[in-house]
C-alpha cells in the first residue's frame, strides 16, 4: 500500500473500546520517534492525544484498543472496519478480550446480571454484552499488537514495515527465547515458580521472569501453545491444585482458546461460580474482575 503511494501521508487513526487506555500511551511513549512519524504518517484521529479529530475516517491504518463489550461498540467496530484499509488491534483487550473477558465464565451460573447487581448501585443503567469480545470475533483483523500494554518496539516495527511496504516482523516465539537471550535463569526450572512463558508470545522482553516471577501471559498464546502439557506439569511436578492452575491461566488473555481450554479443564476461574450465583452475598471474584 505504502510503496505505491510513496509521496502521500498515511492516514492513521487510534480508537478505543472497553480498555484502560494504557496501550494508547504506547504511542505517546515513542519519544523522538513520534516526531519522525509525521514524515510518513498523518494522525487523523486519536482522542487520547488530540482534539483535532476525524472520528469517521477514512483510515489507511486504524489501531483499535479494547474489547467489544456493548452492542453499540459491536455496531461501531463494524462501521469502522468499512472505513479502514488496515485494521490493527492493540493490546490484550482487543486481541483476546482482556481481563474483563473473565466475566464470560459468569454465564456458567446464571449470567452476567449477578455481576452487575453486585457491582453497580443502579444496575438498570448498565448495558452490556454477556461477554467482552476480542475484536477479531466481530470483524476481520489484519494485524495484532499483543500485550498488556503493547510493546512500543513492535509498534515502531509495524509502522516502519507499513511505511516501507514490507511485512512486519512480529515475534510468535515463546517468552523463553527472550529469557534465554537475556541470560536469565529459568524461574520454573530453578525455583519451581509456575510460569506461562513457554506457551506465551514474547514481546515484553520477559519482564516478569526478569523480576523473579513467572509469566502471567499478557501477550497471549504463541503459535503451537501446548497449554495442556504445561498445566499437566504444573500439577504433576510443581504440585499446583486445579484451582491454582486455573488461576494462573485466568489472567489478561484468559479468553484466548488455548488458555480457556486449560481454565475449563481445571474448574473455571477461581471464585467465579460463587460470585455468579444469583442472590449470593459472596464477594464478586477473586479472579480479577473489579
Amino acid at each position: 500500500m505504502a510503496a505505491s503511494n510513496a509521496g502521500k501521508l498515511i492516514r492513521v487513526g487510534v480508537v478505543k473500546f472497553a480498555s484502560c487506555d494504557g496501550c494508547q500511551l504506547g504511542f505517546l511513549d515513542l519519544g523522538t520517534v513520534l516526531l519522525d512519524i509525521g514524515i510518513r504518517f498523518q494522525i487523523v484521529e486519536f482522542g487520547e492525544a488530540s482534539s483535532n479529530r476525524t472520528p469517521d475516517g477514512p483510515f489507511d491504518i486504524l489501531f483499535v484498543e479494547g474489547s467489544v463489550s456493548t452492542d453499540e461498540q459491536a455496531q461501531h467496530i463494524r462501521h469502522l472496519r468499512e472505513r479502514t484499509t488496515l485494521l490493527v488491534t492493540i493490546g490484550a483487550c482487543a486481541t483476546s478480550g482482556g481481563i474483563q473477558a473473565l466475566r464470560a465464565w459468569a454465564g456458567n451460573d446464571g449470567g452476567i446480571s449477578g455481576f452487575i447487581d453486585a457491582v453497580y448501585a443502579t444496575p438498570e443503567f448498565v448495558e452490556t454484552l454477556e461477554r467482552a469480545q476480542p475484536v477479531a470475533e466481530l470483524v476481520e483483523v489484519d494485524a495484532e499488537l499483543r500485550g498488556c500494554p503493547i510493546d512500543t518496539g513492535q509498534l515502531v516495527e509495524l509502522l516502519t514495515a507499513t511505511a516501507i511496504g514490507r511485512r512486519p516482523q512480529l515475534p510468535s516465539e515463546a517468552v523463553c527465547v527472550a529469557c534465554k537471550l537475556a541470560g536469565r535463569v529459568c524461574v520454573m526450572v530453578a525455583r519451581g515458580e509456575p510460569c506461562l512463558g513457554p506457551i506465551i508470545s514474547t514481546g515484553c522482553g520477559a519482564l516478569c521472569p526478569g523480576m523473579d516471577r513467572g509469566c502471567y501471559g499478557c501477550f497471549g498464546p504463541r503459535e503451537s501453545a501446548n497449554g495442556t502439557a504445561l498445566s499437566n506439569w504444573f500439577g504433576a511436578a510443581l504440585g499446583l491444585t486445579d484451582e491454582q492452575i486455573a488461576a494462573r491461566f485466568a489472567g489478561f488473555t484468559a479468553w484466548a482458546p488455548e488458555l480457556r481450554e486449560v481454565i475449563d479443564a481445571h474448574g473455571g476461574p477461581p471464585g467465579m461460580r460463587a460470585a455468579a450465583a444469583p442472590g449470593s452475598d459472596a464477594p464478586v471474584s477473586e479472579g480479577g474482575v473489579s
Binding site: 516502519t160 534465554k180 512463558g197 513457554p198 506457551i199
Partner: protein, 521 residues
C-alpha cells in the same frame, strides 16, 4: 566445528581464534550428565590451551598448546608430585563410574537407528509433552542456528543487519512464502533430535551432542533426550528364545548331513520334512533364510526353512520337479545333504514397536512361518499383528490346524481367502488376498509388512499396502530366482543389481525399486 572444515563461520572462527581457553576435567557429574556415553568426557582431550584437574588441595594443570605452555612457564608452577598426579588420574575414573550408573546414550549405530525411525510413534508421544519453547536449543552448546534480523528507521534509509540466536523449535524457522515445512511440534522435535544424533554425523563427522545434559536440565517439562532416544531408536533387544546365528560355509561344494525324522503331507502336492541330527549352524538360521538341499544324483534345490527348533528344522516343499519328487519319497532315517541357511531373511527388528501385517500367497506361507513363530514368541516387541493368507482352493491351504490355533489367539488376527471354491465346501472369503485388507483399517505410518507368494501377487499386495500409507522401506518381499550356490558366486539369480540368493531373498520394496514389475528381468 565451525572454525574449520566445510562450514566456516567467520565471526565465530575469529572470536574462537582469539580466545585463550582454559578447560577443567569434570570431577562431579550431575544426574543429567552423559558425556562419557557420547565419548566427549569427562576428561578434556583437545581444543584447550590449559586444562585443569581440581584436587582437594589445588589444581593439576596441563598445557594443550604453545600458548598454554608459555603461560604455565610464566606462572612458574612446580611440577605436580606423584601423589597429586595419581589423584588427578583418579578424578576422571570416578566421574566415569558415576555416569556409568546413570542413563546414557548408546552411540553405536545410533545414526542409522534413528534415521530408520522417522515415522516412529515416539515422536508423537514427545510432541504431546513438548512445549516447543526453544529452551533445549538455547541451552545447547552445539546448536549454531542463527537468524539475520534487519531493522531500519521509518523511512528505510538506514538498515542494520543483526545476527541473533535462532531455534528450529520456532514456527518461523521453517517458514516459506506460502507455508511451513515443519508446522507441527513433532516435526520440530524430530528435526532437532535427528540433527544432533544422525545428520550431524553426515555434515561434520561426529555426533552433534556432547552429553552435557543442559537440554534435560532446562526443559521446563522434564523431557529427557536420553529417554527419547531409548524410546524412538532403541538398541534392538535380542529376541527371546532364538538361537544365535553361526557362520555357514562359504564353499558351495561343502555340505552338512541331516536325517529325516518325519515326513507328512500338507496337501495333495505339498509335504513337510522334519530334519534332525543337524549341525548347530543349520538350526540357527533366521526366518526367511533358505537351505540348498542336495540328494546325490539330483541338482540342488533352494528350500526355505518353515520352522526352526532346537536341533531340528522343518522344510515344506511342493513337488514341482524330479528333485522335489525325490525328496518327497524319502523315509524317516534317510540322509540328506544340506548347506545353509543362507541368504538374508525377514528383518524382524524393523517392526519393533510397530504394527505388523504378514501376507502370504499359496506356498509363500512356509517361509513366513518362522517369522510368525518369532513374533509370537516375543509378542511384546510389536503392536497389532495380522496375517492374511490366500490360496487357490480350500484344499490348497497349508497348516490348516495351525491357522485355527492362531485365529483363536487374541494377539494375532488371521484372515484367509481362496481364489475359488466349490459351492458348499467353503464358508470363508473368496477373492484375492488384498480384499482382506478392507476388513479393518491399517495404520500405514506405524506398520511394517512382510509378503511372500507369487511375484504378481506380491507386487499387487505391495501396491495395495503402499496405498494404505506404508512406506516402501517398511514393505518386505521374498523374491524367487534360479539359485544354485546360495552365496552370490554362480550368477544365476541376478535380478537387476542384486544377487537374490545373497542380497535377498528378502528385499524391501524400496530396494527393489522399478525392477519388481519388469517382465523378463
Amino acid at each position: 566445528m565451525l572454525s574449520g572444515g566445510p562450514y566456516i563461520d567467520e565471526d565465530y572462527a575469529d572470536r574462537r581464534g582469539k580466545a585463550f581457553i582454559v578447560a577443567v576435567d569434570c570431577a562431579k557429574p550431575s544426574g543429567t550428565c552423559f558425556c562419557a556415553s557420547m565419548g566427549t568426557g569427562p576428561e578434556v582431550s583437545s581444543g584447550f590451551d590449559v586444562a585443569l584437574v581440581e584436587l582437594d588441595d589445588g589444581y593439576v594443570a596441563r598445557a594443550g598448546s604453545d600458548a598454554g605452555h608459555q603461560l604455565l612457564e610464566r606462572l612458574g608452577l612446580g611440577a605436580a608430585t606423584s601423589v597429586q598426579m595419581h589423584a588427578a588420574a583418579g578424578v576422571g575414573v570416578e566421574a566415569r563410574a558415576t555416569m556409568s550408573q546413570q542413563l546414557g546414550v548408546t552411540r553405536e549405530g545410533l545414526r542409522d537407528r534413528l534415521m530408520a525411525q522417522l515415522e516412529n510413534s515416539g515422536w508423537d508421544e514427545v510432541a504431546e509433552r513438548c512445549l516447543a519453547c526453544t529452551n533445549c536449543t538455547m541451552a545447547c552448546p552445539t546448536c549454531f542456528c542463527t537468524d539475520v534480523k534487519q531493522t531500519s528507521d521509518l523511512l528505510g534509509t538506514e538498515t542494520v543487519s543483526e545476527r541473533q540466536w535462532a531455534s528450529c523449535f520456532t514456527l518461523d524457522f521453517a517458514r516459506v512464502a506460502h507455508g511451513n515445512f515443519r508446522p507441527g511440534v513433532r516435526d520440530r522435535y524430530r528435526q532437532w533430535l535427528t540433527h544432533k544424533f544422525s545428520t550431524w554425523v553426515d555434515q561434520f563427522g561426529s555426533y552433534g551432542c556432547v552429553g552435557c545434559g543442559r537440554c534435560i536440565t532446562w526443559c521446563p517439562v522434564g523431557i529427557d533426550v536420553r529417554q527419547a532416544l531409548a524410546r524412538i531408536a532403541p538398541v534392538k533387544p535380542p529376541l527371546e528364545g532364538t538361537l544365535q546365528p553361526v557362520p555357514v560355509s562359504a564353499n558351495p561344494g561343502r555340505y552338512s548331513i541331516g536325517t529325516v525324522a518325519e515326513l507328512w503331507a500338507e496337501t495333495k502336492n505339498v509335504y513337510t520334512l522334519r530334519l534332525k541330527d543337524l549341525p548347530e549352524a543349520v538350526c540357527c538360521g533366521t526366518p526367511g533364510q533358505f537351505l540348498m538341499l542336495d540328494l546325490p544324483g539330483f541338482s540342488a534345490v533352494p528350500i526355505s526353512v518353515s520352522r526352526y527348533r532346537e536341533g531340528e528344522i522343518f522344510l515344506t516343499i511342493r513337488t514341482e520337479g524330479p528333485t522335489t519328487r525325490a525328496l518327497a519319497s524319502l523315509r524317516p532315517g534317510s540322509q540328506i545333504g544340506l548347506r545353509g541357511p543362507v541368504g538374508r531373511g525377514w528383518p524382524i527388528e524393523e517392526a519393533f514397536g510397530r504394527d505388523v501385517v504378514i501376507v502370504a500367497g499359496g506356498i509363500g506361507l512356509p517361509p513366513l512361518r518362522p517369522l510368525i513363530d518369532n513374533i509370537l514368541r516375543s509378542r511384546g516387541h510389536f503392536g497389532r499383528v495380522r496375517l492374511y493368507y490366500g490360496a487357490r482352493t480350500p484344499k490348497d491351504l497349508l497348516y490348516t490346524d495351525e491357522l485355527k490355533t492362531w485365529a483363536a489367539r487374541d494377539d494375532i488376527s488371521v484372515g484367509v481367502t481362496v481364489d475359488r471354491a466349490q459351492v458348499g465346501t467353503w464358508s470363508g472369503a473368496v477373492g484375492v488376498v488384498t480384499h482382506l485388507f478392507d476388513r479393518e483399517p491399517i495404520d500405514g505410518s506405524h506398520t511394517t509388512a512382510y509378503i511372500c507368494g507369487p511375484e504378481k501377487m506380491m507386487s499387487a499386495t505391495a501396491n495395495a499396502l503402499a496405498g494404505r500409507g506404508i512406506l516402501p522401506e517398511h514393505i518386505f518381499l521374498s523374491m524367487e530366482r534360479h539359485m544354485q550356490c546360495g552365496i552370490g558366486l554362480c550368477g544365476h539369480c541376478q535380478m537387476g543389481k542384486h544377487f537374490v540368493c545373497k542380497d535377498g531373498p528378502v528385499f524391501s520394496r524400496r530396494e527393489l525399486g522399478e525392477s519388481l514389475d519388469v517382465e523378463g528381468l
